[in-house]
């Protein structure tokens, strides 16, 4: 599965705080996916948690 962040991201920073294995922060505080969004199979629950905790609903998992 793959993670993506849409332009709805407003830089709340919950994703890289909750799941630093999957996301990191840019200089201005916006989130970005690591490894082009590839989610290791043992981190799929964490990825789902990041999706559901994004205040802007900006993270998708496909």
């Amino acid at each position: 599965v793959k993670l993506a962040i849409s332009p709805a991201c407003m830089g709340h920073g919950l994703c890289y705080s909750l799941a630093s294995e999957l996301f990191e922060d840019e200089d201005d505080g916006y989130g970005t996916v690591r490894r082009s969004g590839e989610v290791p199979s043992d981190q799929e629950d964490l990825a789902r948690r990041a999706v559901s905790n994004c205040p802007e609903g900006a993270i998708s998992l496909s």
């Binding site: 830089g11 505080g29 802007e56």
Partner: protein
């Protein structure tokens, strides 16, 4: 249950005018019994107050303005700046110049955020952590042998306020003056966001001070945010008006919100020893606890916007030029958002909330605020794990008010054993 609050809220229930073809109109009951938010029991029982508002409806008329109370409506209002504009929404604060970037809409607001965001990003605030921890320990140290303190006066206010003044670049020895200005300006506001009858004279005083300060500080090097902002060049350079409007906003936000959050959060922990013990036993829960405490007690729980055109929110018609406030504390308790929304739970898997706002105006200081709260809740519980509200004390939330906080929180705890 204070009867008067319930009664006045009953009158706020929407008239279900199903006969009207274009949807229901929100009716202000000013003629019979106006809904007065001042009557809500926020001071003594804010959880009850938010439940009463939720029961009043998803869109309610309040003092000639509109309040939206569900998570879905709050998202609608805060994510659509073309319809719900910020431009006139903060007039109640009486700033002679528009607040940057709060009182602007995209695309102007987008430019301001692009300029400001790097100064407030996690990469900028993380390096402050060690200094914040030692500053806080220095505040807590003298309390250990005393066995009592006023948490608000001795921790919740001084810690974030001194931190902000240093970070932004304002003189620390003027702390009392800044607090007076901030309290005067915010104290004149209420939950509706409507213009106060008596706009605060402190607004002009703060403006006059900042106008002089901006002149003084232009071209002077410094590693604080204001110095760096004033020395930007090219497309990012800020005019005097922009720099003053920005400083005005930052004084209000930087001096009030974290203090308010900490005061209400610690009061909740003091009243819930089992939750407090969870943090003592497992400090790795603190980040989740911060989200939960801020969800339950947003310090700026009423976010105003003004409609640019006739619009509908849910089934309700809202005319152009209406002041609409997003009631974050109520929306954060929306049963659609999470199970058992009225309970405090530090183990929620899903806890997205709106306390730092949503959409383009998301709280710029949220990363600094979270770091400050992390430091306070971790260090405090390490040093003073066992505390309670002083017998006879009755901490109350300041109300009516546009921003929330507890003014005095006397705590007692075992003295340090030598």
């Amino acid at each position: 249950v204070p009867e008067i609050a319930v009664r006045s809220l009953d009158t706020a229930l929407l008239t279900r005018a199903d006969t009207r073809p274009k949807g229901r109109h929100v009716t202000d009951h000013a003629e019979d019994a106006p809904l007065s938010v001042a009557d809500l029991p926020v001071a003594d029982d804010r959880d009850l107050a938010w439940q009463l508002i939720e029961a009043a409806g998803d869109v309610i008329a309040v003092n000639g303005t509109y309040a939206v109370t569900t998570a879905a409506h709050v998202e609608t209002v805060l994510r659509d700046p073309a319809t719900f504009s910020s431009k006139r929404a903060f007039d109640a604060l009486n700033s002679p110049l528009p607040l940057v970037p709060l009182a602007f809409d995209p695309p102007e607001q987008t430019r301001y955020r692009r300029i400001l965001q790097p100064f407030f990003s996690p990469r900028m605030v993380r390096p402050l952590e060690a200094k914040l921890r030692s500053d806080l320990r220095a505040l807590i140290e003298p309390l250990l042998d005393r066995g009592e303190c006023d948490f608000v006066k001795e921790i919740a206010e001084p810690f974030p306020v001194h931190t902000f003044l240093a970070f932004f670049g304002l003189p620390d020895d003027m702390i009392d003056q800044f607090m007076d200005w901030k309290n005067g300006i915010l104290g004149s506001t209420d939950a509706s966001g409507a213009m106060p009858e008596n706009p605060a004279p402190e607004a002009i005083e703060l403006y006059t001070y900042l106008a002089g300060l901006v002149q003084e500080r232009r071209g002077v090097a410094g590693d604080d945010v204001l110095s760096e902002l004033l020395n930007l060049t090219g497309d990012d350079a800020l005019t005097d008006a922009e720099a003053i409007g920005l400083s005005f906003l930052f004084v209000l936000a930087g001096l009030d919100t974290v203090a308010g959050s900490l005061s209400m959060g610690m009061e909740r922990l003091a009243r819930n020893p089992a939750h407090r013990q969870e943090l003592v036993d497992d400090p790795s829960l603190v980040p989740a606890a911060i989200e939960e405490l801020v969800r339950l007690d947003p310090p700026a729980p009423f976010v105003p916007r003004v409609t640019t055109e006739d619009t509908t929110i849910g089934d309700h018609i809202v005319p152009a030029g209406s002041l609409v406030s997003a009631y974050l504390a109520v929306a954060n308790r929306d049963p659609a958002g999470r199970a058992n929304p009225l309970e405090m739970d530090f183990h929620r898997a899903d806890n997205a909330h709106a306390s730092f706002g949503l959409g383009p105006h998301r709280c710029l200081g949220s990363h600094l605020a979270r770091l400050e709260m992390l430091v306070v809740y971790e260090e405090w519980h390490k040093l003073i794990p066992d505390y309670e509200i002083a017998p006879g004390a009755d901490p109350r939330v300041r109300w009516p008010s546009g921003t929330l906080g507890i003014e005095s929180l006397p705590l007692v705890f075992p003295k340090r054993q030598r």
